[in-house]
Symmetry: D2
Subunit: 304 residues, 4 copies
């Protein structure tokens, strides 16, 4: 199963669960896969920025991906983050995970790229190394520092047929979706990030779904479904209920700690452990999240 | 009336209204002042980043501040943004607005500052130029690119007695408020930014209020009041109702267009005009805001 | 006398001389103009980054430019740096200096520009404000943070007929000169910066001269002249003799202090004063420059 | 043989030689080691930024380091660049190379660090992972984007006894050497970078030597030796002769291509191949370097 331009729905960005001693927690990994699929995920993305990928050794990354793939067992496509400082590493990781059954890879531009030509050239070079592997362009300027304009993305899509999906995470980004839908000469999948906090508007602009990691993927699944069913207002009601928490999880640097805390409280992963360096939640932060979770329960009850 | 450490409540960051031909719209300016004060603002801040200050000539800036001060007529303190590339300009503007009756100035660190000593040294130098004028430190790394750690702010507060207030706009920033409240050897006012999207949590961490420009200042006034009255949950209910719009207005680069659109629709300012360069709202963007305004009205009705 | 595409030779970037009390030193300004013209300058550029422009008030800038123009008295063209945070300010300054007799303005891109379209769009907007004033594009990524690719510069030159000159200060930048000479559909002047430390190679690649502020403009004049006379090796001999000093003056942040020290020692300006903020030379730094000046004298004597 | 605070002389930053097909060229590696040691190197540093480290896979890095260590055979200490996005990787590489006989590792701060506390905290965490391995702090803001102030370096040296050396590559950096020599409460080795283009002044300020990769290490060896022998002017004469080439090699992004070209022309390495992404020399660039090499030969002959 390879990723293609028709990708839609919710591709959940998976966290990497750790045991308290820092080892990868494989039992939690299995539970997490089950949880995401039961919540309605149409795909998974692993070893992304929020997956603490750079903190894993090459062996750990490979073992983690294999575990995920084994548990998913072909039910949904699995995308693997393959951004690396050098093409040799990107090539090695891509070959390894594709052999193991991944559906494609995701590539973010390195932070030193500036001009349009540099960015387009980078992806052209990457493709020489990853061959015919389908790939996702990760457009996340807040973290990468690289601003990819609509003409740049258009050129990448035009020049490189194996580019099948854009992980859209620019901010603001709504006009960009409209411009891409109008300007691209072939339709690729646009899946949106930013923790889902603009998902209703993104769907209305022409996105195909979400690729992000909010700890309540069921909200995103519902927004996408209601949009498709022609009942976007019902999706918005739910969205609004979750928004206080989604906004809180969207804090840069702290989001992963919040996400792991919620996932642990929901029984998905056993521990909130992050590998170092990583920012944890203070007791006050824990109390803030718990209060928001309580209010969410209450609001969902009101909505019926 | 000079700004001091007891500043609290909601200091609204005022927009600068323009006529369609680009001239400053003085009639709208008057209406805006009235609107903010009726909404419960305890202060105003003008010529900030969202006030399009760098697009005004020196004469226009001075005239605009004078008009604001005349209309406020001493009812609340008025802070003026005085960030400038050189100290000569900062000194000139500060002298001029303080003579006209401003309560203090706000100073953001220039983007090239990196180390702790550079930042602390910059504010020490600034004070040599602005003299005994009370000033607000603007901590807004997303826009300035300068990260001011707790030790840096502590040193500024300790070294410079005329530093009376922090405009807190770091993101994430909640732990920072707690650390500052614990670490500062003298209490200064902490007023929070980021469009109010973390205001309930910020108040709980020890902030004194908000200094930001959300187009519905009454929400922020209510959150602050309910926090003080010991009914923070009531404040949160209102906050949650406004959050879909607040989140939308918080989009960088686009926020001012949204804010001006809402203020115009509410009858506060006559035109949504921005000076160039400035990003306007597309028809789709206008529709998105209008939809959110409609949903807000409905939700407020539900809340009673 | 307006700047046009035929600009060549050495446009010296003038410092702004100050008296010890911080006022602009008009007597030194006159002497400096005479010195630069006697050294063979074919033009002057004032109020550039190294001219401490942002530290002057609007009135001071205008008075300084008028003094320069009066002293130059039409003998060579004078370019004025007009970069400003807003177009209103740029328009005001441009109108004022062009009325006073300047030959054109120089505009650097603001630091937040990233994509090709943003940069090209910025210059297109600027031209709407400065009208038919000839302008120089300042390409100085080390300081502005904006990387202007060859296609970007090509589009600016193509779209905007009043763009007559590129101040080339990219680093590395030699291939860029070759690519521009090959790619531009109309010949504009290319004058190079970086303190002249690549001038022999830049001339060989097709540059028309230098626009930079090395404290020994006679070296740059000689390199350009020898290149034109077909005796580039003679120019290089002189260049090599000055290089230890040129390299030293090229230190970012410290270069202006070194330049003012040398100009003062050479009797051109009366004081080394910089406006704050500004880094001065320590006694050790002064000794280093003096040693290099001594070695230069000796080496020039050897060369005869 | 472990690195300690007495490190001095010239630690050459080694390139990584490749065969035309992109494989590591082990025969050239051996010749390069011999060449550096014959030129008077007192140490070698491998897998640095200029060593194309991020383009090697983990296995290739380990094999390359082992080959270097075998050829050096204990004659001089070998430092290995161990900067990595995560501590797990840094720990793994450090353990591996120290077991193989390296003398220490070099660690650059990751680019997202901003405040003093963040930088100091990063090195404290790193030491928890690399244990008692002696390490070099790499201070190279032009490339890393991280500005390490004198107080920051002082705190690192004070807190972490295994910090034995600073690779000083700030620019400007002379005052920093003086300040560190005055402020540090224990003497660590300071070895300077930037291709040696400030080496005479750096030695006079109190540096212990160079750690950089100029293609003529004999120049750096001579400058250091003459400084120690009390004949710095003789060192400067040689320095001045090499400066036109050193300046040329110091072009960011292009420097490695120039260095490999010179090393190949000098018979040290067999090929100028770089792994992708990497900027090569155009024919015009090759001609420029060859011209400078010719002039150098002539000038050295004049000097006798």
């Amino acid at each position: 199963m390879l990723l293609d331009e028709s990708a839609s729905g919710v591709y959940v960005i998976a966290v990497t669960p750790f045991l308290p001693d820092g080892a990868v927690d494989m039992a939690s990994t299995d539970r997490m896969v089950d949880f995401y699929l039961e919540a309605g995920a149409t795909g998974l993305t692993v070893l992304g920025i929020m997956g603490e990928a750079p903190k894993l050794t090459g062996e750990e990354s490979a073992a983690f991906v294999r575990r995920i793939l084994a548990r998913v067992a072909g039910r949904v496509p699995v995308i693997v983050g393959a951004s690396a400082p050098g093409f040799a590493q990107m090539e090695g990781l891509t070959k390894s995970v594709m052999d193991d059954g991944a559906a494609g890879v995701m590539i973010a531009p390195p932070g030193h790229l500036r001009t349009d030509d540099q960015i387009v050239g980078y992806y052209a070079q990457a493709v020489e190394f990853i061959g015919d592997t389908p790939f996702v362009v990760q457009d996340f300027p807040l973290v990468t520092g690289v601003q990819m304009s609509v003409p740049v993305i258009t050129r990448i899509v035009q020049d490189l047929p194996t580019c099948v999906c854009l992980k859209h995470e620019d901010w603001p980004g709504l006009e960009k979706i409209s411009a891409l839908r109008k300007g691209l000469d072939r339709r690729v999948s646009i899946l949106c990030g930013n923790g889902g906090v603009f998902l209703p508007e993104e769907m209305a602009r022409g996105a195909d779904g979400a690729m992000t990691g909010f700890a309540y993927p069921e909200m995103m699944v519902s927004v996408v479904k209601n949009h498709r069913d022609g009942t976007p207002e019902r999706g918005r009601d739910l969205f609004d209920a979750y928004l206080p928490l989604a906004r809180f999880e969207q804090q840069p640097g702290l989001g992963l700690a919040i996400r792991k805390h919620v996932l642990a409280k929901r029984g998905v992963i056993a521990h909130t452990t992050q590998r170092r360096p990583g920012a944890g939640l203070s007791p006050a932060g824990v109390a803030e999240v718990d209060l928001l979770m309580g209010r969410l329960t209450q609001r969902l009850a009101e909505l019926g």
